[in-house]
């Protein structure tokens, strides 16, 4: 069987040869036009004048479009209809597109876009969380509050309390391929779009609206992205719509790709949060109640902020049973770029809030932080008592972190290294080490339940080769390989007999975004469903052919066996074709068992949970705040892995990205709302040398208790949150400088670390 095999990424051979095609690599007709946006240089104001004559006169410019030139809808929002493609009268953030240049080259369009004379009458801009709070600038009218039990009483009667606050910075996706789209006009006014998107159906929908056409007039293809991480769930809409409108007006193909700085200024990022907390607990560290207040900076438009903030609330427990919890979530509207989906989708922020609480309690009680965490874990799935419920009332039936913690602390030699770190710190004044454990429990399913569906289209050709499409998109995670492994296993075929081509709205309609880690869960099952339909048809034909019953049919090693009869798959396909049986089938899947009321915060939003655990060791320099990850050990639960090599790749990459979020990746806006870190020269993602010196990653050998595709588990987002262990280890190292709790904020840049060291040293 090809599932469970550690096969390489299906297009690795193309990657290394430079022949994998991204949007900007697609050959285009010579008359292809290139687009660039003219951007607002104010964070908030009213456009009082727009003199575009110099733009129009610039070399290579074909036309320039303003909001009033758009033929139909001026909207590129995911759902809320609050995000115009081009600003209409007012601007709401620094970098908002105001006009669109259509020119003969990318560079000509970029140069011309800077020649406009736009006058904006400034209005007071709301940039920070505090400014939004004092202006009561928010989405949803008021804070969303979930109550489970009576947290206030639990806190007031608890023997011990801690309280505090943590600032959590946002994060730029920094997919290596910036956003890009290409629109090619077709006959009859139809439009073909190639887009670097995680959500082809949404692109189709927005382009159709913008052209005033039904969705069947727009076909969207997405072969691959050069990285997505959530940043291409909704942020590609603007480029695709711009290209479609310009292509429709000029009758020529139109391409747009953001220059990196434009990409970083225009597009959304991870939400930055402030989380205030108060927790009550017993003397031996058992949590009795927690109150959280989440402040999420959402930016100027709703985008996906509400479900992101919801998911932060849903992960406020992380892996711990909290008898009473109250969470208040403020979704603040600011004049900054609209924060959007990013790997973990609010989960990391919510989880970090709870890990801060655990860290703080452990420090307060001088208890081993791993031990304290285990005391508060949900009961093991092996526990025979009644199942505990989360703060949103979902039963936790598959909890396996007790066993994972035991295994990981053993293989990582946690106890011995804890002692070694403590000895080191006793003997070193300048360089301090820290060691920390962090667990994760991540809920799998879209919390907007109707999105939990997927479709597939599988063809068997008369030579027995198989071609398939599904609704998921390939952004590097190896989804197509996993899906091909499913199809190859179902048909008993070698991998080279399966071909998956670009995700295409004309092949599989009404797809959900490839997001929420759902890609292989949903699409794998849809493909399996289609394969099963086709297998049934082949079995019927072969049973008739050999006049035998349909029991004991095996598809294996390129053969189909019924009882003692056997035929090659290729011959069976040929026979089915000649028997005039359809060798094409659609497949469909919907996730079972879900029910969720987001306003009340009650129900079962998740089909199951994925688990993971990490132990990270760091060293800091107390003279400069410089720091480094020395060693990381990870045990991650991918269920019965569909492809262990790809899954380990997801875990390693996610950890480094998560650690980057909480350490060196710092977004800085100035007081006028201008993003100052708009290029890799100033915004630093981890480089090669920033990975842990020793990096041990293993998969937990457990199968999913729920009936997922081959009992695997989703793996895209969860391991991102293992990076929290790096942040906690830094905090541990700082704590070694004195008595008081470091209360470190994120990202823990050298400067923040030095500040915390000084605070702790002063006591």
């Amino acid at each position: 069987m090809s599932v469970k095999a550690p096969l390489p990424h299906d297009t690795a051979g193309l990657h290394v040869a430079g022949s994998a095609r991204y949007i900007d690599d697609i050959p285009v007709p010579a008359n292809c036009l290139h687009l660039a946006f003219g951007l607002s240089n104010e964070a908030r104001g009213v456009i009082t004048g727009a003199d575009l004559s110099a733009v129009r006169a610039a070399p290579g410019v074909i036309t320039v479009l303003k909001a009033t030139d758009l033929p139909h809808e001026n909207d590129v929002s995911a759902a809320a209809h609050d995000e115009p493609l081009l600003a209409q009268g007012e601007v709401f953030y620094h970098g908002q597109p105001i006009f669109l240049v259509v020119a003969t080259s990318h560079l000509a369009a970029r140069k011309a876009a800077r020649l406009a004379n736009i006058t904006i009458s400034k209005r007071p801009a709301i940039i920070t969380i505090d400014e939004a709070l004092s202006a009561n600038s928010r989405f949803e009218g008021e804070a969303l509050v979930w109550n489970n039990g009576d947290a206030e009483t639990a806190l007031n009667t608890a023997p011990r309390n801690v309280e505090g606050s943590i600032e959590i910075g946002g994060q730029e996706h920094f997919y290596l391929e910036s956003q890009a789209a290409l629109a090619q006009p077709q006959e009859n006014g139809d439009m073909l779009i190639n887009s670097s998107t995680q959500h082809p159906t949404e692109i189709q929908h927005k382009v159709a609206e913008a052209l005033g056409k039904p969705m069947h007039s727009v076909r969207v293809e997405s072969r691959r992205m050069g990285g997505g991480f959530g940043g291409k769930e909704s942020q590609g809409n603007a480029l695709a719509v711009a290209c479609a409108v310009a292509a429709s007006q000029t009758g020529q193909p139109c391409k747009m790709r953001y220059d990196r700085d434009d990409d970083m200024v225009i597009t959304g990022k991870r939400h930055d949060f402030r989380i205030n907390y108060r927790a009550g607990f017993t003397k031996d560290g058992k949590i009795l109640g927690v109150e959280f207040v989440h402040y999420a900076r959402c930016g100027w438009a709703a985008d996906l902020s509400l479900p992101v903030a919801d998911r932060a609330m849903l992960h406020a427990d992380n892996a711990y049973y909290v008898p009473a919890m109250r969470i208040e979530s403020h979704r603040l509207k600011t004049n900054t770029t609209s924060a959007t989906a990013y790997r973990g989708f609010g989960g990391p922020q919510g989880m970090l809030g709870m890990e801060r609480v655990m860290d703080h309690i452990a420090h307060e009680l001088k208890l081993d932080p791993a031990e304290l965490r285990q005391r508060n874990f949900y009961a093991s799935q092996k526990d025979t008592g009644p199942k505990q419920r989360t703060h949103y009332n979902q039963k936790v039936t598959d909890f396996e972190l007790h066993e994972m913690l035991e295994r990981l602390t053993d293989t990582a030699q946690y106890a011995a290294r804890k002692k070694a770190v403590s000895d080191w710190n006793a003997n070193n004044d300048i360089l301090k080490k820290g060691l920390a454990f962090s667990p994760l429990k991540f809920g799998i399913s879209f919390t907007l339940s109707h999105l939990n569906q997927a479709g597939a289209l599988v063809h068997i050709y008369q030579d027995g080769s198989v071609h398939l499409n599904h609704g998921g998109t390939e952004m590097g995670q190896g989804l197509n390989q996993k899906i091909a492994q499913v199809a190859a296993s179902e048909f008993g075929l070698p991998m080279e007999r399966i071909r998956i081509t670009a995700t295409d709205t004309a092949k599989v309609p009404n797809t959900s975004a490839t997001a929420a880690s759902s890609g292989s869960d949903l699409n794998g099952m849809a493909v399996k469903n289609a394969c099963n339909k086709l297998k049934k048809r082949i079995i019927r034909i072969l049973s008739n052919h050999w006049e035998t019953t349909q029991s004991d049919v095996i598809f294996t090693d390129g053969m189909v066996q019924i009882g003692h009869h056997s035929m090659s798959f290729d011959a069976a396909a040929r026979l089915a074709y000649e028997s005039r049986v359809s060798l094409s089938a659609t497949g469909f899947y919907r996730t079972p068992k879900l029910s969720w009321d987001r306003l009340k915060g009650r129900g079962r939003p998740f089909y199951y949970f994925a688990y993971g655990a990490a132990i990270t060791e760091v060293v800091i320099d107390t003279l400069t705040g410089e720091n480094r990850i020395l060693r990381t050990d990870i045990l991650h639960d991918a269920g019965t892995s569909l492809n262990p090599a790809l899954d380990i790749g997801q875990v390693e990459g996610a950890y480094v990205q998560g650690a980057g979020w909480l350490t060196m990746e710092e977004l800085v806006w100035d007081t006028s709302g201008r993003l100052q870190t708009h290029a890799p020269s100033t915004y630093k993602i981890p480089t090669c040398a920033d990975r842990p010196d020793v990096f041990n990653v293993a998969l937990w050998p457990g199968e999913n208790r729920e009936n997922t595709i081959y009992r695997s588990k989703a793996v895209g987002e969860p391991p991102f949150m293992l990076g929290i262990s790096a942040f906690l280890a830094l905090s541990d190292a700082i704590a070694a400088c004195g008595e008081i709790y470091p209360a470190l904020d994120a990202p823990a840049t050298p400067e923040r670390i030095l500040k915390a060291v000084n605070r702790v040293r002063l006591g």
């Binding site: 990424h9 297009t11 690795a12 051979g13 193309l14 990657h15 290394v16 040869a17 430079g18 095609r21 900007d24 290579g60 020119a103 003969t104 080259s105 560079l107 920094f174 290596l176 391929e177 910036s178 691959r224 992205m225 050069g226 990285g227 220059d259 990196r260 300048i430 590097g476 190896g478 060293v619 800091i620 320099d621 003279l623 400069t624 705040g625 410089e626 480094r628 790809l646 790749g649 390693e652 480094v656 990205q657 060196m664 710092e666 870190t677 290029a679 020269s681 100033t682 630093k684 993602i685 981890p686 480089t687 090669c688 040398a689 920033d690 990975r691 990096f695 050298p750 400067e751 030095l754």
Partner: protein
């Protein structure tokens, strides 16, 4: 209508000849501001070279450059996005399309990347492969160093290192042998062949922008979108690329690349060469010149504080006239250097001296980052006393600046912790730093003070760098 407008030509159009994937390419009427990346992708349709950031920070556009056999430079990985076509004159270029054989055999590194699952989205992969292939040709095996200029957002780098390790002992495939020695080159007047020609040309064209590595000017073109009136290219001036060890000093031509400087100063000043390992990236160091790093006048350039601390002098030339000044006198104030119209830096002279130099670079990230503070502390101790001290900092003022009050507080005093602590109090006499995106003023001053303590601790055998700690 003009198709494919790529900027107005800056000055004369040029003739450029080079090898591309083993074949001679001779171009006429080249716009001197055209980047190699743009030309490769848009003109030649070689789409394997990617644009990730367009400013030399991500490495997705990495290509392999082979120099003339007498240049004493091995194969280099360089960034095509901020390299201008005229810089290819007389060189050989390999893009990812030319890394495999004509018959389609993959390079051992390409095979290893596949086997070790070292690509995910694949967009950074051609650049990563090219960096590793160039390193493999040079025999370099410090893969963290080799890849410091290649960002990958997917893999976490671990599998890339596994692939690099797995392939490092393999032979260099014969199809990669490029020797660009017999190219028929037509000289261009704006690309003089030696310093004398340059001096004359620059006197006649004093408003031209001089370009050596283009690692700074490249960004003016790709990001600021400026159109220089005229560019003078220094890459053909091989006499400016010489390093001469003399009796009392070392003379480094202004066109010497940072990686050559790194090798040249390693024996005498390991602190200098050690810091240069963290100067930008392998790609930038192979291209950027020492003269450029000095001449652009940036207050955060990494080499000037070191050169100030070493008492280096600049040899400036204008036509036939030469003058020699201390490098610290070159920096007048932010954006203003001691340089006349038509004058250029010909060489940098570092006097021989006992090595007391410690260099500390502080940034948010160790690799490929701009310093928040760079300290160069040249302190000579004799018989327990500070005999001499030349100390300079970058990132602490509008120019790279000497810490004279700190020096005064040290010289002649006992080399002990009390002296260090006393000297720490006078940093505010020398510097009033700024708060910016990289660091606050408070952090800068504190870290600068702590660097002095670090020197003292280091002189007493303490481990002071997190980079030296092993798990």
């Amino acid at each position: 209508m003009i198709w494919g407008v790529s900027g107005n030509a800056a000055g004369e159009l040029m003739n450029i000849t080079f090898l591309l994937n083993g074949e001679t390419v001779a171009l006429c009427d080249v716009d001197p501001t055209r980047t190699v990346l743009d030309w490769l992708r848009e003109e030649r349709g070689l789409k394997g070279t990617k644009e990730g950031c367009n400013e030399g920070d991500c490495g997705a556009c990495t290509i392999i450059l082979t120099h003339e056999s007498d240049s004493q430079k091995a194969a280099s990985a360089v960034n095509a996005c901020i390299m201008l076509l005229p810089q290819l004159q007389g060189k050989a270029v390999r893009t990812i399309e030319g890394v495999q054989s004509a018959q389609g055999d993959l390079h051992p590194i390409q095979n290893a990347v596949i086997e070790h699952h070292a690509s995910q989205c694949g967009f950074c992969t051609p650049g990563i492969v090219n960096s590793l292939v160039a390193a493999h040709m040079r025999g370099a095996t410090d893969h963290d160093d080799v890849l410091a200029g290649n960002l990958c957002r997917c893999t976490g780098y671990a599998p890339i290192i596994k692939a690099a390790n797995a392939a490092q002992a393999e032979n260099v495939p014969e199809w990669l042998a490029d020797i660009p020695d017999n190219l028929n080159i037509t000289p261009n007047s704006c690309a003089p062949e030696n310093a004398d020609e340059l001096a004359e040309w620059y006197m006649n064209n004093p408003h031209a922008t001089l370009v050596a590595g283009a690692t700074d000017v490249g960004l003016w073109l790709t990001k600021k979108l400026v159109e220089p009136r005229q560019i003078g290219f220094l890459n053909r001036c091989t006499d400016l690329q010489q390093i001469i060890e003399r009796e009392n000093d070392i003379w480094i031509g202004s066109g010497v690349t940072i990686d050559q400087v790194q090798r040249a100063v390693k024996a005498r000043y390991p602190g200098f060469s050690g810091m240069l390992r963290y100067f930008a990236s392998t790609q930038i160091r192979a291209t950027a010149s020492l003269g450029g790093n000095i001449a652009n006048g940036s207050p955060i350039a990494d080499t000037p504080p070191i050169l100030i601390a070493l008492g280096a002098r600049l040899s400036l030339r204008r036509g036939d006239k030469r003058r020699v000044i201390l490098i610290e006198d070159f920096y007048i104030e932010y954006g203003r250097q001691n340089l006349q119209a038509g004058e250029f830096i010909e060489g940098i002279i570092i006097p021989h001296q006992p090595d007391g130099l410690k260099v500390y670079k502080i940034s948010k990230r160790f690799d490929q980052d701009i310093s928040s503070v760079l300290g160069a502390l040249n302190i000579i101790e004799k018989d327990g006393k500070v005999q001499a001290a030349r100390i300079a900092f970058g990132g602490m003022a509008g120019v790279p600046k000497r810490a004279k009050a700190v020096e005064t507080a040290l010289i002649g005093r006992d080399w002990n912790r009390q002296t260090v602590e006393d000297a720490q109090t006078v940093f505010s006499h020398d510097f009033i730093p700024l708060t910016d995106v990289r660091a606050s003023a408070e952090y800068r001053i504190e870290v600068a003070q702590n660097m002095l303590l670090r020197v003292w601790l280091e002189s007493h055998g303490q481990t002071v760098s997190v980079r030296e700690v092993t798990p």
